[in-house]
């Protein structure tokens, strides 16, 4: 069923020295923000990850972190790609060119987390109303508790 993930990570690490390292847990790769697009093109092209399973962001105290899950149809091998973004102005390349699936998910991440995706065709809010102030999923957005 799922292909062995370790050799794939080795191949990625060798082809992008310095920018890609293996993550702590299995099947995970840390990628520098600048090298994201070439890594993803290689993953999609040669390594057969033809579907973007999930795309989300996490607001850690010291930095933002983009988390991409890639999946290979039909043998369902999963690769997790993480990218660290600086806290001030989180920007990352948009993957709409590779997977149109990224379009709505990036708009949602921009809307809720405030991460700017360069090269996205129409980066507008998707869930919150257009005139909504702030990005609700950030830790500094405090919910007004009831009574």
């Amino acid at each position: 069923m799922a292909k062995e993930i370790q050799p794939i990570i080795e191949k990625l690490v060798q082809s992008f020295p310095g920018q890609v390292e293996a993550g702590e847990t299995a099947g995970q790769v840390m990628v520098a923000a600048s090298a994201l697009l070439p890594v993803m093109e290689k993953a999609k092209g040669e390594l057969g990850f033809n579907m973007l399973a999930d795309l989300t962001a996490v607001d850690y105290p010291e930095n933002f972190e983009m988390v991409y899950h890639l999946m290979a149809i039909p043998d369902a091998t999963m690769l997790k790609v993480k990218v660290k973004l600086d806290k001030g102005s989180p920007r990352v390349a948009s993957l709409v060119g590779l997977w149109p699936a990224a379009d709505v998910q990036e708009r949602e991440t921009y809307d809720l987390m405030g991460i700017f995706f360069e090269g996205h065709p129409n980066l507008k809010r998707i869930l919150c109303p257009e005139d909504f102030q702030g990005h609700p999923l950030r830790k500094d957005y405090i919910l007004k508790t009831r009574s």
């Binding site: 847990t25 579907m51 149809i73 039909p74 369902a76 149109p100 699936a101 869930l127």
Partner: protein, 378 residues
């Protein structure tokens, strides 16, 4: 000035026709909830569709950060409110993967039975809403009548018909009552006859076939590129089902096929769900035959504090692959909880495949993709 002048020049060859923009939703009989599509139409033919979602956005992911892990379980019922059991299963299995909890045998079997019953109930709603969107109200009624029996089974097991909140991290809330299995067996014996009735009334109907065959075809490449999963992907000919490709729980012990259709048009997306329901009945029969005894809940502390770290787990929901990404920082509340909802991604492909048809096709195509707004907006 001259720009306006130039526009006034009457071009004899192409009569100046204007496109009208029309609002379909958020209050519209066939948008399956509060979803708004702005259609740019040239006469009856649609040239461009723009999705507007977010009317049902409750911010479940933000709420999760102020709820403990057990408290979040009832919120998962409200994601795909037609598939509460499957959302519970997805969240429970994600946490068990993160904490390494071993679920007892009987609980695994109960989970399979509940998941497949919920799949049938959700597909019945799909068949009903597809039939009524093509104005066969009788088809809608028959599906709802059969779905009632499944909801009564849920009521017997966990006390509520729709928002079940039945699964817990480490097993299930309560064991099935004694009267459950015989009632389930009667349902399994009756279901195939119901499916034949739908085939006779809805699938075999020439008018419905003429209105769905060849409408809004979706090729396998477009489906994979747009991240479409579940029955819609299988309708385009890709035999990919997580229950077979990456079996979670004890799905590898059951033998069932993954039905696929050839050309991924609206009729295939409709008919594949009936085939899947027939497979679910097979799984249910095998689960009932080898139903073990034993406890239904693993040894799990009252307040759950998973180890630091993150986990991503996917299950095969009714609308597609439902994923939960949980980041925990060791406390009893999740640091971040992201839900990958299949309807949100499947909706992304709707403007792509519905372009070119008229408004009647758009209604049929939207019904065939089967979106639930609770899951789209979270």
């Amino acid at each position: 000035m001259e720009k306006a002048m130039e526009r006034e020049v009457f071009r004899a060859d192409s009569p100046r026709t204007e496109t009208i923009t029309m609002n379909m939703g958020p209050q519209h009989p066939s948008t399956h909830g509060v979803y708004r599509a702005v259609l740019t139409m040239d006469g009856e033919e649609i040239t461009h569709i723009e999705n507007h979602v977010g009317y049902l956005h409750r911010g479940i992911e933000k709420l999760a950060e102020t709820r403990t892990f057990t408290q979040f379980m009832p919120y998962t019922d409200r994601l795909d409110y037609l598939g509460a059991m499957l959302n519970n299963l997805g969240y429970a299995q994600t946490m068990e993967k993160l904490m390494g909890v071993e679920v007892p045998e009987r609980a695994e079997y109960i989970r399979i039975i509940m998941a497949e019953l919920q799949r049938i109930a959700s597909h019945l709603i799909f068949v009903a809403s597809y039939a009524i969107d093509l104005s066969s109200t009788t088809g809608w009624m028959y599906c709802m009548r059969d779905r009632e029996r499944i909801l009564d089974l849920f009521d017997m097991v966990c006390g509520s018909r729709l928002t079940t909140n039945y699964m817990r991290i480490g097993g299930v809330a309560e064991d099935v009552p004694p009267g459950f299995l015989p009632e389930l067996q009667r349902l399994i014996n009756d279901l195939p006859a119901c499916f034949d009735e739908y085939d006779g009334l809805i699938s075999g109907n020439e008018i419905l076939q003429k209105r769905s065959i060849g409408v809004a075809p979706m090729s396998a490449e477009t489906a994979i590129a747009y991240g479409v999963t579940g029955p819609n992907l299988r309708a385009s000919g890709v035999a990919f089902d997580l229950r077979k490709a990456a079996p979670y729980g004890i799905y590898d012990r059951f033998d069932f096929e993954i039905p696929t259709c050839a050309n991924g048009d609206t009729y295939d997306r409709y008919y594949i769900r009936i085939l899947e329901m027939r497979q679910s009945v097979r799984i249910l029969q095998q689960a009932v035959d080898s139903f073990p005894e034993g406890p239904v809940m693993a040894k799990v502390p009252k307040v759950i504090r998973p180890p630091k770290g993150d986990v991503y787990h996917q299950i095969e929901g009714t609308k597609g692959i439902l994923g939960f990404y949980v980041v925990s920082d060791g406390t009893s509340k999740p640091y971040r909880l992201h839900i990958h909802s299949p309807s949100f991604v499947n909706l992304g492909v709707f403007p792509e495949i519905a372009r070119g048809g008229n408004i009647q096709d758009a209604v049929a195509t939207l019904a065939s993709i089967d979106i639930v707004l609770g899951e789209v907006d979270r």
